[in-house]
């Protein structure tokens, strides 16, 4: 670990604000103090939680459960992203489609994730497809709206300038449309990642035989708080890791943006 400025640290290649680490350490200290006075089944000690966390990755079965949840999140997001992008581009090109699709997507946003869990259990037999369906249905509107907004924000001036060079459709997409929509897509992934991690746990809790949600249910049934927290941390670590990867992509892809020295 090396200090790169007064306010940031570089850890394994990532720039990290030390305040974040201090806050997490403070939380662990407070938890540990409470655990000294509270019953163990309510507040297990930090070392107990750490041991359970390590145990998860010491067994193939539990490590596979953790990986399964990560893959389900990524697969669901990828599916919603592809479908949402196609839908957004079709909506951008057809006013009549937009007039029908927009209210349906808004209606969909009002449906709770748990309702999709129940519906998918009734409709489908395959566990993986059920979870994929739930993930897609809950994250599709946000991807569609974000990509549609990003597409609409494309500069008419740049569009005309590029068009003047007579590009093929593919070249127009590659040189203009993709760089224009990329910031919106990255934002959509970041926003949906948090939503997806919450939804996948609910889906696994009710309708799966493996994964973080299923393991959380097992911990609840044996009243193992250390295990419940360890499995929660697994999910949080995955989400933070994925967000760090997206942020790194964002920093590289959007490096052309000027940074103002004075903030608002």
């Amino acid at each position: 670990m090396t200090a790169i400025s007064a306010h940031r640290l570089r850890l394994f290649g990532w720039d990290i604000r030390p305040e974040g680490i201090y806050a997490l350490v403070a939380l662990a200290v407070v938890w540990q103090i409470i655990s000294l006075f509270a019953p163990n089944f309510l507040f297990p000690s930090v070392p107990q939680i750490a041991v359970r966390f390590v145990e998860i990755f010491s067994s193939w079965k539990t490590a596979f459960d953790a990986a399964a949840t990560a893959l389900r999140i990524l697969a669901g997001l990828a599916g919603a992203f592809v479908l949402g992008s196609i839908l957004a581009i079709l909506m951008a090109r057809s006013d009549s489609l937009e007039r029908y699709a927009y209210p349906l997507l808004n209606f969909n946003q009002g449906i709770p994730a748990l309702s999709w869990v129940v519906i998918s259990i009734i409709w489908f037999r395959g566990i993986e497809f059920r979870i994929f369906f739930i993930m897609v249905m809950t994250t599709l509107p946000a991807f569609t709206f974000q990509v549609l907004d990003a597409y609409r924000s494309m500069s008419k001036d740049l569009f005309e300038m590029t068009l003047a060079f007579r590009p093929s459709r593919y070249d127009l997409f590659r040189t203009l449309v993709w760089p224009t929509v990329l910031p919106g897509i990255l934002t959509a992934w970041k926003v949906n990642l948090g939503n997806a991690s919450r939804v996948v746990v609910v889906a696994e809790l009710v309708g799966a035989t493996g994964g973080v949600g299923y393991e959380l249910l097992q911990q609840q049934q044996i009243f193992d708080m250390a295990g419940a927290i360890a499995w929660t941390i697994v999910l949080v670590v995955f989400v933070l890791g994925a967000q760090a990867v997206i942020s790194a992509i964002e920093a590289h892809a959007l490096r052309y943006r000027a940074a103002a020295e004075r903030a608002l």
């Binding site: 590029t162 068009l163 003047a164 060079f165 093929s168 203009l176």
Partner: protein, 253 residues
């Protein structure tokens, strides 16, 4: 005079009004021709249809009636035929913010399928010619307004187009930078032999370019024309200047 490069035959262009009322005539019954290698300044007040004419030549707009021919082809219908043949310098630089200066210059070459190494060589040479050596890998936000406009000029010239269209490219620049770039632009046009159409609302800019001059009155009709400004004496130029002022004064604001 050589074969006409650009021909307008009784061209009109109207746009529907947002409130659904009668359409707005931007160009009405416009006819003119421009010879290969000619430099033509199109002058007129704001809203007189200069930019519409520009977009009709570049094929971004379809005429409501009449016929536009560029090198004998319809620029709107045969849009792809003109790939690499028309270069455009806009009023604002219209650089892609995510591309470095050299990648912006190389854009047209890239879309024209020129190999990467070759197009970067050509782009670097054009940047150097326009005084931007050392700025090849700067993003547009790191360049001044004048430098950005130089990049956009380099982008237009890099593909060695037959026709170069310029829509008030120096209007947003200070006088000194504008004059310097205008002289460079004229020199580059002479060197490349391209046909140049330069849209402006400044009489002095049109005179300084030294080619043929067409003055539009609303809606885009030729109200005044002067040929070969380059060979004119000061007295003749003053007469042209007075003639243009008279036409512009008669055109209602």
């Amino acid at each position: 005079m050589s074969d006409p490069e650009i021909v307008f035959e009784r061209v009109s262009k109207s746009f529907p009004r947002a409130d659904g009322g009668s359409s707005l005539d931007a160009v009405r019954d416009l006819s003119f021709s421009i010879a290969r290698g000619e430099l033509v300044a199109i002058l007129g007040k704001t809203g007189c249809g200069k930019s519409t004419t520009f977009n009709l030549i570049s094929g971004l707009l379809r005429p409501s009636s009449g016929r536009v021919r560029v090198q004998g082809h319809d620029p709107f219908v045969e849009f792809d035929w003109f790939r690499g043949k028309i270069g455009i310098v806009f009023q604002h630089d219209r650089l892609m913010p995510w591309r470095t200066a050299i990648d912006n210059v190389a854009l047209g070459l890239e879309l024209n399928k020129v190999a990467r190494e070759a197009r970067l060589d050509i782009a670097a040479n054009w940047l150097a010619r326009l005084g931007l050596k050392g700025h090849e890998h700067d993003y547009p936000h790191a360049l001044s307004g004048g430098m950005r406009q130089r990049v956009s000029i380099a982008r237009a010239f890099a593909g060695r187009p037959d026709i170069l269209l310029c829509d008030e490219p120096f209007a947003a620049l200070d006088e000194h930078t504008g004059n310097a770039l205008r002289d460079e632009f004229r020199e580059l046009l002479r060197e490349t032999g391209a046909t140049g159409i330069f849209i402006t609302h400044s009489i002095e800019e049109a005179l300084r370019l030294g080619g043929r001059l067409i003055v539009f009155e609303r809606p885009a009709r030729i109200a005044y024309e002067a040929r070969s400004l380059a060979g004119m004496s000061d007295a003749e130029r003053d007469a042209v200047r007075a003639g243009i002022r008279q036409v512009l004064a008669a055109d209602p604001a």
